[in-house]
């Protein structure tokens, strides 16, 4: 039930986010990314394969929205690159977790968090 609610929430966020390019990225989307990222970090540490893959998949989809936003915005090549990098890391994590390589998955998840911070330096509204 919780998973279904999560899915509904993520879909709703995707829908609203796609219409929010003029006013910047939706803060709910950003919050969801942050929450899912923390969940991912925990699930990898606890070696929960299915939950980790689910979180990484959600992140991949959310970063796809972020990437599309910055492509449309224009003049934000670094943000586009960071979004692509975040997507790649999310996909890498799925592979690593499937291989039960949790140590490397943890490192990748940490790098993903740092990518978020780097983007925030220039693009996060206070």
């Amino acid at each position: 039930m919780r998973k279904l609610l999560w899915l509904v929430g993520v879909v709703a966020i995707f829908s609203t986010a796609l219409h929010a390019e003029e006013t910047g990225l939706d803060t709910d989307l950003m919050q969801s990314i942050e929450d899912t990222n923390k969940s991912l970090s925990s699930n990898i540490a606890l070696q929960r394969v299915d939950a980790s893959i689910s979180d990484a998949n959600d992140l991949d989809k959310m970063f796809e929205v972020v990437e599309a936003h910055f492509v449309k915005k224009g003049n934000a090549a670094d943000a586009v690159d960071l979004s692509k990098k975040s997507r790649q890391l999310s996909q890498d994590i799925i592979k690593l977790v499937n291989e039960k390589n949790f140590d490397t998955a943890t490192s990748s998840a940490t790098e993903l968090s740092r990518a978020c911070k780097s983007c925030h330096t220039f693009y996060k509204k206070e």
Binding site: N37, K38, S39, S41, S42, N43, A45, L46, D103, T106, S107, A109, T110, S113, R114, K117, S118, T121, F122, E126
Partner: protein
């Protein structure tokens, strides 16, 4: 009369309540967990061999301007009085009252290089400069948040909101205590009041409360209510404590699986021992005059802070793992209470530097001469630093975007500098070398033999670690 367990069950708290409390006595908990509950401060092995045994965390409260202490900026001197070029402000959001002012340099500031490392020190820190080759500078420090309380909280706990354990608490949790007669995590401060940012900065957060820092206040009696009340004779107190211990032990024997009682017994025993061990640890009467002079105890401005650092050295000798020292207000009739120099920086930093310079130099000298520096980590840190542009004409505003911290002690490349700020000291020059608070924490833990990614605690079903979801060990500074 109902037993404790019967009471809990009948009131509906029962196993659920016990589970919420983190354990269910006698209900299938692992021996290791039970052992932790019996003695949560029992020494534990690190993940790999440690380089250090103790940390002295020198929090410079109020945010010193490191471009007035360690980070010489000749370009700033050249451009004094000019506006800040826009290129230096790219990517940051300033909030200086009155707007970003002209570039400011204190008129009496001079700079020299010291030691074989050639590290730059200003005329504000002549004693510390003599130890240039002991220090490992991180000149690409950065953080977020531009108000003191929030950034101090992040410096100590990794979060902008209360609720997370402080670094010292994580270390206590991961390593336990090396001395059963003293807390593994002690907080020291000088001045008349506790650090203004509050005890949330040495909190155990979601870790068990036993791991929180114990504040030792200035003066001969470091802990409130530790001393026996005057109305009570020593023999009376001894008899009361012995009876209490006897009754508790009888209860413990009757309920061998009640680990909460065992933990409480342990804390009473520790408190009992601390009545002797804590005052002894901070008693400087047996220190030589030469040592006291080394720490600046003969100068009223540095005496208070010097006393805390001498206490810190004594606590290191007694196996305390993490000693968090917060600068307080110097003695004397001055309105200077911290490094927060929004105006009159020259007066403020003149006094604050005088307060800490000789004591910290003395601490480094003393640790070295006693053979302790190789197994101790000294960290100069602050919640952020200060801008190169002036504020109020004579001060500097907050700068979280690029500043200097330093470390000294075991496991480090001494006489080394990592990273840099830009030519004016506004931001970190190369963002790939930026060192956030999480990275500093990860590095401190690494030196203690702890992998920050593997130091975890299960909190309400979520695995938590000291560095939240961040953190990178600064390998370039490690020997």
């Amino acid at each position: 009369m109902a037993s404790r367990r019967e009471f809990l069950v009948h009131t509906g708290l029962g196993l659920g309540g016990a589970a919420l409390a983190g354990f269910a006595p006698g209900f299938g908990i692992s021996a290791a967990y039970a052992s932790d509950l019996i003695d949560p401060l029992a020494p534990k092995q690190p993940n790999f061999p440690a380089k250090i045994k103790s940390v002295i965390w020198l929090h410079q409260n109020g945010a010193p301007s490191t471009i007035d202490l360690f980070d010489y900026k000749p370009e700033l001197v050249k451009r004094v009085g000019q506006p800040v070029p826009d290129s230096f402000l790219k990517g940051i959001k300033t909030s200086t009252q009155g707007g970003v002012g002209k570039l400011f340099v204190a008129k009496d500031r001079t700079w020299k290089q010291y030691g074989e490392s050639g590290a730059w020190f200003s005329n504000l820190v002549p004693n510390l400069a003599q130890h240039a080759d002991k220090l490992t500078f991180i000149k690409s420090s950065m953080t977020i948040g531009a108000t003191h309380d929030i950034s101090i909280l992040k410096l100590n706990t990794g979060d902008l909101n209360p609720g997370r354990p402080s670094l010292g608490a994580w270390i206590s949790y991961a390593l336990g205590s090396a001395n059963p007669d003293l807390p593994p995590y002690v907080v020291l401060y000088n001045g008349k009041s506790e650090p203004s940012a509050g005890s949330v900065n040495w909190s155990s957060g979601f870790l068990p409360a036993v791991y929180q820092g114990t504040a030792f206040r200035p003066g001969a009696s470091p802990i409130y209510y530790l001393d026996r009340p005057e109305l009570r004779a020593q023999e009376q107190q001894r008899n009361s404590l012995d009876l209490l211990k006897h009754l508790n032990q009888a209860g413990s024997d009757k309920h061998p699986s009640d680990t909460e009682l065992k933990a409480r017994l342990r804390s009473y025993e520790l408190a009992d021992r601390m009545q002797t061990s804590a005052p002894e640890a901070v008693d400087l009467s047996k220190e030589t005059d030469a040592t006291k002079e080394l720490y600046g105890l003969n100068d009223p401005i540095s005496a208070g802070y010097g006393t805390t650092l001498l206490r810190a050295r004594r606590l290191v000798e007694r196996g305390v793992r993490f000693i968090q020292v917060v600068t307080g207000a110097p003695e004397g009739d001055s309105e200077v209470t911290s490094w927060d120099a929004h105006n009159d920086l020259e007066k403020n930093h003149g006094i604050m530097a005088k307060q800490v310079d000789k004591p910290i130099a003395g601490l480094l000298e003393d640790l070295k001469s006693r053979g302790l520096l190789d197994t101790t980590l000294v960290v100069w840190t602050s919640e952020f630093s200060r801008t190169p542009w002036g504020e109020s004409g004579t001060g500097r505003d907050h700068n979280p975007w690029g500043y200097t911290q330093w470390l000294a002690g075991g496991g480090l490349k001494a006489g080394f500098t990592y990273g840099a700020t830009d030519e004016l000291g506004v931001q970190v020059a190369d963002k790939d070398t930026a060192v956030d608070t999480y990275d500093l924490h990860a590095t401190v833990l690494q030196l203690l033999g702890l992998d920050h990614l593997k130091t975890t605690f299960l909190n309400n079903g979520r695995s938590e670690r000291p560095t939240v979801v961040y953190g990178k060990v600064i390998k370039d500074i490690l020997a």
